[in-house]
């Protein structure tokens, strides 16, 4: 089991969740409290001596005086199972605390002082981890003899390395963070930095590990006692009770079942607490990412309009709505988007992150994340044999058939878009081998040819490289080659230059321009937040804001005569000089104050009005429609474009 680290934000996740107890923790905490307290609180109330024997009544069944009956020596089972818990719990809790303290100190010192201290602390832990835990325990028992004290020592030795490791790793991570560096820089003493600044911020994983260790300690203690090497008679303990009852198993199955159940319930409750703690302290583990590989995809409303694409068009999106439906109430993420991509031309989709531009592209590919669906509208795509495909009516294998072949996609992060364990060449020709069933040799030849075409030097060598051996620019070229390898009619480029260095950005843009001007070029849907890049490539532009297109038209018109205040703000935030392009690499726009509203918080009226310098009262009431301004091709959704210019 691993401890995944929670968010780096010092103020939220890693603080003690107490004193307000998280609702998900209440039940397991209550159970654990009962398990911990009952063995100590109940026996005095029962008033039965766990060691009192009455041989005549041995193996007596449950009765009012002895709810669980009597054991092989005629001792009360309930009293014994509770007293047995005392020994197990005492050993487990004390040794968990000792190992936690020692391990945390070693880890903290190692991470704070690094150098030799760090080396020694991790190596100590490594050496101990070389022994299987039970063996280590047996070695210590051999030398010290069995008994409760030995057990506590044994368990502390076994479990401290895990603490040392976790604390070392977490503390090393935390010690790089701003507020720790700041505390050091302000001259705080090491002790203060370690215990006041660092420790509280890594308390989450420590608490989880503590709970994990307590459960493990109960297991190991009972195991050793079962072997007769742990708690020694006459002190009762669970392991010992099972050992004792084994001989009478045939006659008295209950005698063995009771301690077994007691042990398992205790561990189960502590495990439950551990799992919940982990969920609460590290919420990201709950969702586990967003797998887009959902096995079933709900069929979209059919009713395909028999419309066919115009001859020069490879993609047309009509009145597209995309919504998520996670909590029962559908939230619209994209509303009424209309787009067209012409053969050999480039349409750019521009906007900040969260505006819905990537979702638009994903819906064309049928690659929406789980829980997100097209709820209305049509997506018409030109197939490789010239027919019109209604993408929204397809599912499963039909979608697989159009992906790559009719519509191909390149992504923002060439670092993560390629699988690190396969050679780039193999990934490049993977789809061709499956779809067109060409021979490996021929596919390889074609692949190398494509690498050459996208300007990869030494394509034969690159073909056999692993992704991590290539630079970001080369990787993006590989991605482009991969997208082109199936000769698609439509190329979706989702921020293909954003993650690259400025000079490499320019190279990739040049490559795309060359591609656009080549014979048989695909139509390109180019997604970007960067109007500077868009200006070099696009023939048409659609500006998206909060899930809607707010301005749309021929590139020259939109860039030269922007009518929507948002488009204008984007243009103003564009770095003037080419060298400053890197300043625009983040998605924030320094000249537009505020952030776009979240999908479920989109207001009535114009979504941009809170950030709009020109907003008037009508903007809060009526949502402006996309209407033509200047000419029929140029559309904008702003109240102010009607009547007077902004």
């Amino acid at each position: 089991m691993t401890i995944t680290s929670a968010s780096a934000n010092p103020s939220s996740a890693f603080r003690f969740p107490l004193p307000r107890i998280h609702p998900r923790l209440r039940l397991p905490l209550a159970i654990v409290a009962i398990v911990l307290v009952a063995p100590f609180a109940v026996p005095p109330l029962l008033g039965i001596d766990p060691n009192a024997m009455s041989v005549l009544e041995r193996f007596a069944g449950p009765s009012l005086a002895h709810p669980l009956g009597l054991d092989e020596f005629g001792r009360d089972r309930l009293a014994r199972v509770l007293i047995g818990a005392q020994a197990s719990l005492r050993v487990a809790v004390i040794s968990a605390l000792i190992s936690c303290t020692i391990g945390s100190l070693i880890g903290l010192f190692g991470a704070y002082f690094r150098g030799l201290a760090g080396f020694l602390s991790t190596k100590t832990a490594d050496v101990v981890l070389c022994f299987p835990p039970i063996l280590l325990a047996l070695l210590v028992v051999t030398l010290m003899g069995p008994g409760t004290t030995t057990l506590i020592w044994v368990l502390s030795i076994i479990y401290f390395p895990a603490f040392a490791r976790i604390v070392y790793l977490e503390a090393s991570r935390v010690s790089q963070l701003d507020y720790v560096v700041a505390a050091k820089a302000l001259g705080a003493r090491p002790r203060r930095v370690m215990f006041r600044t660092m420790l509280p911020n890594i308390s989450g994983p420590i608490i989880v590990q503590l709970s994990l260790t307590a459960a493990a300690a109960i297991v190991t203690e009972s195991g050793l006692s079962y072997l007769g090497l742990g708690v020694v008679p006459p002190d009762p303990s669970w392991g010992q009770m099972i050992r004792g009852a084994r001989a009478y198993m045939e006659r008295d199955p209950l005698g063995i079942i009771i301690p077994c159940v007691a042990i398992s319930l205790t561990i189960y409750s502590v495990n439950l607490l551990t799992d919940r703690l982990r969920d609460v302290l590290d919420p990201k583990g709950l969702s586990g990412g967003i797998p887009i590989l959902s096995p079933r995809r709900p069929k979209v409303q059919a009713a395909p309009q028999s419309a066919t694409l115009e001859a020069d068009t490879v993609l047309r999106i009509d009145h597209l709505d995309v919504a998520t439906n996670t909590n029962g109430t559908p939230i619209k993420l994209i509303e009424d988007v209309n787009l067209r991509v012409r053969r050999g031309r480039c349409t750019a989709l521009v906007g900040e992150s969260g505006s819905g531009k990537s979702l638009t592209a994903s819906s064309v590919m049928g690659l929406l994340p789980r829980g997100v669906n097209v709820t209305a509208g049509d997506i018409m795509l030109r197939s490789h044999n010239g027919e019109t495909i209604q993408v929204t009516t397809l599912s499963g294998e039909d979608l697989e058939a159009i992906r790559g072949r009719d519509a191909a996609m390149i992504f923002q992060e060439p670092m993560t878009a390629l699988n690190p364990v396969y050679r780039v060449g193999d990934q490049l020709i993977e789809a061709a081998k499956i779809h067109r069933s060409v021979s490996s040799a021929q596919a390889r030849e074609e692949g190398i040819e494509f690498l050459k075409r996208v300007g990869v030097n030494d394509p034969v060598r690159r073909f056999d490289s692993f992704p991590h051996m290539l630079s970001g620019g080369l990787r993006q070229r590989v991605m482009i080659a991969m997208a082109l390898s199936m000769q698609p009619g439509l190329l979706l480029a989702d921020e293909p230059t954003t993650a690259l260095d400025v000079t490499v950005q320019a190279e990739i843009i040049d490559l795309l321009i060359a591609l656009k001007n080549s014979a048989g070029a695909p139509g390109i849907l180019f997604i970007s937040h960067d109007l500077g890049v868009v200006a070099q490539l696009a023939d048409e532009i659609a500006v998206m804001y909060a899930g809607r297109v707010v301005e749309q038209g021929p590139a020259a018109t939109v860039l030269g005569n922007a009518r929507h205040p948002y488009t204008r703000a984007l243009l103003q935030s564009m770095p003037a000089a080419h060298e400053e392009l890197h300043a625009s690499r983040s998605d924030t726009l320094p000249s537009i104050g505020g952030t776009p509203p979240l999908p479920h918080e989109r207001p009535a009226g114009c979504a941009f009005r809170d950030r709009c310098p020109h907003a008037v009262s009508v903007c809060a009431e009526v949502r402006p429609d996309l209407t033509s301004v200047d000419g029929p091709d140029h559309l904008a959704a702003c109240h102010l474009t009607r009547g007077s210019a902004v």
Binding site: L143, I242, P253, E413
Partner: protein
């Protein structure tokens, strides 16, 4: 590749050396005279003559450095001396008993992997579904029951009540293969059940992690069939952590089979160890622990090398 493999090997050997030194040193560091401790554990107060005689027998009268070098040189030749109890060769007893333990571990691990890996994969692919819930429930249950409790309850159910299998014991495979296998079933299933939760959970979370990788989207975007995406771009990448946890468990099992062998009277290495611990036969304990730690380190080395093979980015 070869270079880093050699450096891993060197590091593993040096770790082994540290462990051997430690095992030797414990005897020196622990307060009290081992010979006296050994004799007094029998109950009576030993005479000084007896202690002196045992000290000579154990070689404790010689200089420490000489003892240390002899111990290391013996370990290298797999000669661990003789048992203090019955004077039998420790090395030979280990050679007879170790394969039985390894057999148990291998069979149990095969069962656990064969069940937990596909189960975990499907649970992750349909996260939140019925199979996922069932798997999490089963693994929470198994994780809560200590291995010797599982073993005892299985005996109670299958051997005592249903009388399907023997309650324990061992038969030589050569002379009684069926008997051998029927003796193996329960202990192997016990061990498999105890490691199921760990492998299931690791597989599930690793596949889930792997699913959210962007290259999965790339693979889908180029039109690979779902099965090919799962096999080539999800499972293949999810393998690393699963292999690591399997290796780690193999090592830990070398210790925790102690309990299972004890429950089922399986005469493996661990039973030998427990007896040796009870009788305070220090040379035997020392030898067994050294052998097991060596196997443990060797498994870890194999895992690291395998990781390098699995992920071309890993350069150790």
């Amino acid at each position: 590749m070869l270079h880093s493999a050699i450096s891993r090997l060197a590091s593993a050997l040096s770790m082994l050396f540290v462990v051997a030194t430690l095992v030797f040193a414990i005897q020196v560091v622990i307060p009290g005279d081992p010979a006296e401790l050994l004799l007094s554990s029998a109950g009576s107060t030993p005479t000084p003559e007896n202690i002196a005689a045992l000290r000579v027998e154990m070689g404790l009268d010689r200089p420490l450095l000489q003892q240390y070098v002899e111990f290391l040189w013996g370990a290298v030749r797999l000669d661990f001396g003789n048992s203090l109890i019955d004077n039998s060769s420790i090395g030979q007893t280990i050679a007879t008993r170790l394969p039985r333990t390894l057999e148990l571990i291998a069979v149990a691990m095969s069962i656990a992997v064969a069940v937990a890996v596909p189960f975990g994969t499907h649970a992750a692919l349909r996260a939140g579904g019925r199979l996922d819930t069932a798997g999490s429930g089963v693994s929470a249950l198994f994780a809560a029951v200590p291995v010797f409790v599982i073993g005892t309850l299985l005996i109670l159910l299958f051997a005592q009540t249903l009388k399907l299998t023997p309650a324990g014991g061992y038969a030589d495979f050569g002379s009684a293969p069926i008997q051998h296998l029927s003796n193996l079933v329960l202990p192997a299933i016990t061990v498999a059940m105890s490691i199921f939760p760990i492998i299931f959970r690791m597989t599930r979370s690793s596949v889930l992690d792997s699913l959210s990788n962007e290259w999965v989207r790339t693979a889908l975007a180029k039109g690979l069939p779902r099965r090919a995406v799962v096999r080539r771009h999800v499972l293949r990448n999810a393998l690393g952590p699963v292999v690591t946890v399997i290796g780690l468990q193999l090592g830990i099992l070398l210790g925790s089979t102690v309990l299972v062998e004890f429950v089922f009277n399986w005469p493996g290495l661990s039973g030998y160890l427990v007896t040796a611990v009870e009788q305070r036969d220090y040379p035997t304990v020392r030898a067994i622990i050294l052998v097991v730690a060596a196997i443990f380190i060797f498994i870890n080395l194999l895992i690291e090398l395998l990781q390098m093979k699995l992920d071309p980015r890993v350069q150790l």
